[in-house]
């Protein structure tokens, strides 16, 4: 198109002017952009630098290794073993089900537990790590690692898991660990962040539970650089976890193992203590169970078979079980009488088989009566009438006071679960709890450890230690924590005249060494190893007058749960006591026939430090004992020798 010169110049001028305006606008915009850059990059640089660090740095908790638990000789009772697990975070996984399906083809995992893990994962926040499977074999673990690209969100990890090498032998002492439940967090108020990590396990029973704070240790921190998917790019810094404290118990593994085996399948318990130090060498409760089941996660069937067993394997009967102490209580009544000065040791009381109190008759266990009894006879033959008479002179207050001095009716707080306090009744207690006045009959029943009196096997062992030493022995279960002594090393005197204790000890000696003693059958014939003790047979039922007329049903003919408890307390060696024992066989029958032999065997095992020689037993028993030894399923000697527990 033809344009005039003027037009062309006008056009050019206009374009120049407009392009200048546009250029100016562009420059202005450039200025704004530069100002914004300056604001972000210079003025707010520190803020954004911080945000960038938060973006890329994640702090992971490093779980501490749980403290180990040893016996008194250094035998490992609770160990940590490597546990191969598979952990999943669903945050960045598009198709969780497809991934889980692939995983189930790679490792051997049952669908029920996988579904449980899936539900757990879906219920929690997307970034929470959830364990899909644990205790994998090395091969499974390796194949998960190899297939990692096909398994987004899944990481194979190595953790530590608790293992109890002696299984059922220590279930009632060492206890077990288990997962952190919501109930645990609520009931303990424990806010340690390490509890939130998946698979972290805390002590749930016995020493593991009670010493939790000492055993747990402190979590470490791991600072890692992560990308937006949370994948770790590199480790920046590491603060190592502080492992938990190692615990040394007073328990003697060999003795504990022997005690569990000796109790066998009875519903029974036994405590062995060192009389001078109060150190508990064995706390056996039978039947027992494998604590490793609880670590792995016990199945419903396994758990209900434990809870439905009438012998109550889950109960630690040594500290939780409360029984009428029966005749094992008679030392208390006798000492109370001596202290009150209402009886002399040589003074005799005549037993005709019963005492009449108002319209009630209180029978001696021996229907025909014992005849004339002094204090030693009253103990060795366990004459009830002697104590009925004595009780009426002393009164319940003095008996109860003596019982408490000897360590009964008080909670000996060993670091175990459910430690119970026995009951030494008083007038006030009966009025408050039973709503009735104390009557003399109650005193008579209490004098022979029946009626309202209740004691745990641990209390009875403490009582025996106190009788043997004359000091206020308290039981000890923990020797050292991280090598630091945790025992009490001295005990005050009981302030019971030696003469009184000597009478009692003589009575206890004659129980097992005098021909007419109730436990003469359980005597030890090896010189220097003799034992002293006291039998007890405590009634679970009340025998009515009508029953007595008809003839008392023999114990063996009763249903199991109504039979008498068999008890025995004792110490040895007689001359220089070192060990005290208490044995309770629930509904076992007579203390002399059932409990005393067990107590004898435990004391011998403690004194010899290994299986006692047959020479320690009366000649007539040796064959039977030998057979019993052969049939006992004991720890191999190499295991015990490895820590010098048994002479090589």
């Amino acid at each position: 198109m033809k344009r005039s010169q003027k037009e062309a110049e006008d056009s050019a001028r206009k374009i120049t002017r407009r392009s200048m305006i546009m250029g100016g606008f562009m420059l202005l915009t450039g200025g704004i952009l530069a100002a914004r850059m300056r604001y972000l990059q210079v003025e707010r640089a520190d803020d954004f630098r911080l945000l960038a660090e938060e973006n890329r740095i994640r702090i992971d908790l490093l779980p501490p290794a749980r403290g180990l638990i040893y016996d008194r000789y250094g035998q490992l009772l609770a160990d940590n073993e490597q546990n191969y697990t598979v952990v999943m975070v669903r945050e960045n996984v598009e198709d969780v089900d497809a991934v889980l399906d692939r995983l189930s083809h790679i490792i051997n995992i049952d669908m029920a537990s996988l579904n449980r893990a899936r539900e757990d994962m879906m219920a929690r926040a997307p970034h929470v790590r959830v364990t899909l499977a644990d205790r994998l074999s090395w091969d499974e673990f390796a194949s998960v690692a190899v297939n990692a690209p096909a398994l987004p969100g899944i990481t194979p990890e190595v953790g530590l898991s608790r293992i109890y090498p002696f299984g059922a032998d220590f279930a009632h002492v060492v206890g077990y660990v288990g997962p952190v439940s919501d109930y645990y967090l609520e009931s303990t108020g424990d806010t340690d962040p390490i509890l939130q990590t998946p698979d972290f396990q805390v002590g749930r029973y016995a020493v593991e539970a009670r010493m939790e704070q000492d055993l747990r240790g402190e979590a470490g921190n791991l600072w890692v650089e992560v990308n937006s998917a949370g994948r770790v790019m590199r480790e920046l810094d590491r603060e190592a976890p502080v492992p938990g404290g190692d615990l040394q118990l007073t328990i003697d593994t060999g003795l504990q193992n022997y005690a569990q085996a000796r109790l066998g399948n009875e519903s029974a318990s036994a405590v062995v203590m060192e009389v001078e130090t109060g150190e508990v060498l064995a706390l056996a409760s039978s039947p027992s169970y494998d604590p490793n089941l609880f670590v792995r996660g016990i199945s419903v069937a396994e758990y209900s078979s434990l809870t439905e067993n009438p012998y109550r394997p889950l109960a630690s009967k040594t500290v939780q079980g409360l029984y009428p102490p029966g005749s094992t209580f008679k030392m208390v009544t006798a000492l109370a009488g001596l202290e009150a000065g209402v009886i002399e040791p040589e003074e005799t009381i005549t037993c005709n088989g019963f005492v009449e109190l108002g319209t009630r008759r209180f029978h001696c266990w021996r229907r025909g009566g014992h005849g004339r009894m002094n204090m030693v006879d009253g103990l060795s033959q366990s004459c009830d009438v002697y104590y009925y008479d004595l009780a009426q002179r002393v009164g319940i207050e003095a008996i109860a006071a003596m019982a408490r001095r000897l360590g009964l009716g008080m909670r000996h707080d060993l670091p175990l679960s459910g430690v119970a306090s026995g009951l030494i009744p008083s007038r006030e207690w009966k009025l408050a709890n039973r709503g009735s006045e104390w009557v003399v009959g109650d005193t008579l029943n209490a004098s022979i450890g029946q009626g309202l009196v209740l004691s745990s096997p641990l209390e009875l062992a403490v009582m025996t230690s106190r009788l043997a030493t004359g000091r206020q022995i308290l039981p000890q279960l923990v020797r050292t924590l991280n090598g630091v002594n945790r025992r009490m090393d001295s005990f005050a005197e009981l302030d019971i005249p030696a003469a009184h204790l000597d009478v009692i000890r003589q009575g206890m000696w004659s129980v097992t060494n005098f021909r007419r003693g109730t436990a003469f059958g359980a005597r030890v014939t090896e010189e220097g190893y003799e034992i002293a003790g006291k039998t007890g047979t405590s009634q679970v039922r009340n025998i009515t007058a009508a029953e007595r007329e008809a003839g008392v049903t023999a114990n063996e003919d009763l249903p199991w749960e109504r039979r008498d408890h068999a008890l025995f307390v004792g110490y040895a060696p007689v001359e220089n006591p070192r060990y005290a024992v208490s044995v309770v066989v629930e509904h076992g029958g007579g203390g002399s026939a059932v409990a005393a032999p067990i107590a004898r065997d435990l004391l011998l095992r403690a004194m010899y430090g290994e299986l006692p020689p047959l020479s320690a037993y009366p000649v007539g028993l040796r064959r039977e004992i030998e057979e019993m030894h052969d049939n006992m399923d004991l720890l191999p000697l190499e295991v015990l020798r490895s820590t010098g527990q048994v002479r090589a």
């Binding site: 010169q5 914004r36 640089a45 973006n55």
Partner: protein, 379 residues
């Protein structure tokens, strides 16, 4: 003075044209492209693959295309501008019906050896046709309503087609790029004022009516607009990009964390770091100094282009150059504003730096037009 009046003696011919190229502009473009190579290398974690290598090849291809366009007389381009515009419209329609869906939008046609993105091409053809139109139009008629409606239609047709792909960013570039040509051609400023005022009025009305009985949009549409305008209201969705982008920018500080040391990019926190969000990476690794330098390079390119536009007395040459300049400016201004949180996120790449084939080629060809105008200017 039209091209017909050029004295053929005054324009260089043959290989002599090489001497008359605007070499400073070529140098600046190459410098910006090199910044791109460097950043793509860094984003890939210190590797030529998958981005830096192909980007270099494309830049070489782009340089070649620029030379070819530059050596072709500018009046040829004026003559084919209507054809080019028509062709690009047809391609846009083809994309609408046969295009490949990528990233939720129909944007390209797969030609086998490359993916053609017609909307990129359209940015330039609109500018060309508008320049040719105003070259043809009597200067005195420029502001007459009828003659204003024609270029408006030229602009709105491809804008609409691009918008429904949907590609908001490119649609915006076509619209504002075309408007810039109209502005430079001398259309009365009152038109622009009216458009801006009425657009502002509509926006105000839409927002003012919210929550009243005569509300203009549905509630969900308002919520969408909210998210668009304020991404931080949706921190894990739309807001995530912009938050991470600002963190990257800000944590660069004065001098940056150093080449290949950006934690935002190393950790994949910054999405799309090779395309729309490449600027924060540069800012993180080279700091304010690096980011401002790139801005400086861009402004220098604008300066050289505007000077070219003023120097040439040919109306088509001037307007095409100014249109290309405006488009180029919009590219980097929108991209930088977007990553710095000044405007909502729309998909606009950083010119010559972001990874992308069509955009690079078309942009280099457009600079070829500027070069052609420079070489063939009347002397």
């Amino acid at each position: 003075m039209s091209y017909l009046e050029y004295t053929q003696k005054a324009t260089p011919t043959g290989l002599r044209k090489v001497l008359y190229l605007n070499w400073a502009l070529i140098l600046l473009l190459t410098a910006v492209a090199c910044v791109g190579f460097l950043m793509l290398y860094s984003v890939a974690g210190g590797s030529m693959r998958p981005w830096a290598g192909p980007q270099m090849q494309r830049f070489t291809l782009g340089l070649t295309a620029m030379m070819i366009v530059a050596f072709t007389p500018i009046w040829f381009w004026r003559n084919v501008s209507a054809l080019a515009y028509g062709l690009s419209l047809i391609l846009l329609l083809l994309v609408e019906f046969f295009g490949t869906v990528g990233m939720g939008a129909q944007r390209w046609i797969d030609l086998g050896f490359m993916r053609l993105q017609p909307s990129e091409l359209t940015k330039i053809t609109v500018v060309m046709l508008l320049a040719a139109y105003y070259d043809w139009l009597d200067i005195r008629k420029v502001s007459r309503p009828l003659y204003v409606l024609i270029p408006v239609a030229i602009i709105l047709l491809p804008t609409f087609l691009t918008f429904i792909q949907p590609d908001l960013g490119t649609a915006l570039l076509i619209l504002v790029g075309g408007a810039a040509v109209m502005f430079c051609a001398g259309v009365h400023w009152a038109y622009f004022a009216a458009v801006i005022a009425s657009a502002g009025g509509i926006v105000t009305a839409v927002f003012a009516s919210r929550g009243t009985a005569w509300q203009l949009l549905q509630d969900y549409q308002y919520r969408r607009i909210d998210t668009f305008l304020d991404p931080s209201s949706d921190p894990l969705g739309a807001g995530y990009h912009i938050t991470q982008s600002q963190i990257a920018l800000g944590s660069g500080g004065w001098t940056g964390r150093g080449f290949m040391q950006g934690t935002q990019i190393r950790g994949d926190f910054l999405p799309e770091a090779q395309t729309d969000f490449i600027f924060p990476t540069l800012a993180e690794e080279f700091g304010f100094v690096g980011a401002a330098s790139l801005l400086g390079l861009y402004l220098l390119i604008l300066l050289f282009c505007i000077v070219t536009a003023i120097q040439t007395k040919d109306r088509f040459s001037s307007l095409v150059t100014l249109g290309v300049t405006a488009t180029f400016f919009l590219y980097f201004a929108i991209n930088m504003s977007m990553v710095m949180g000044l405007v909502p996120v729309v998909g606009v790449p950083l010119p010559l730096v972001s990874y992308g084939g069509s955009a690079m080629l078309v942009l280099m060809a457009a600079f070829g037009l500027v070069q052609s105008a420079h070489v063939h200017r009347p002397r």
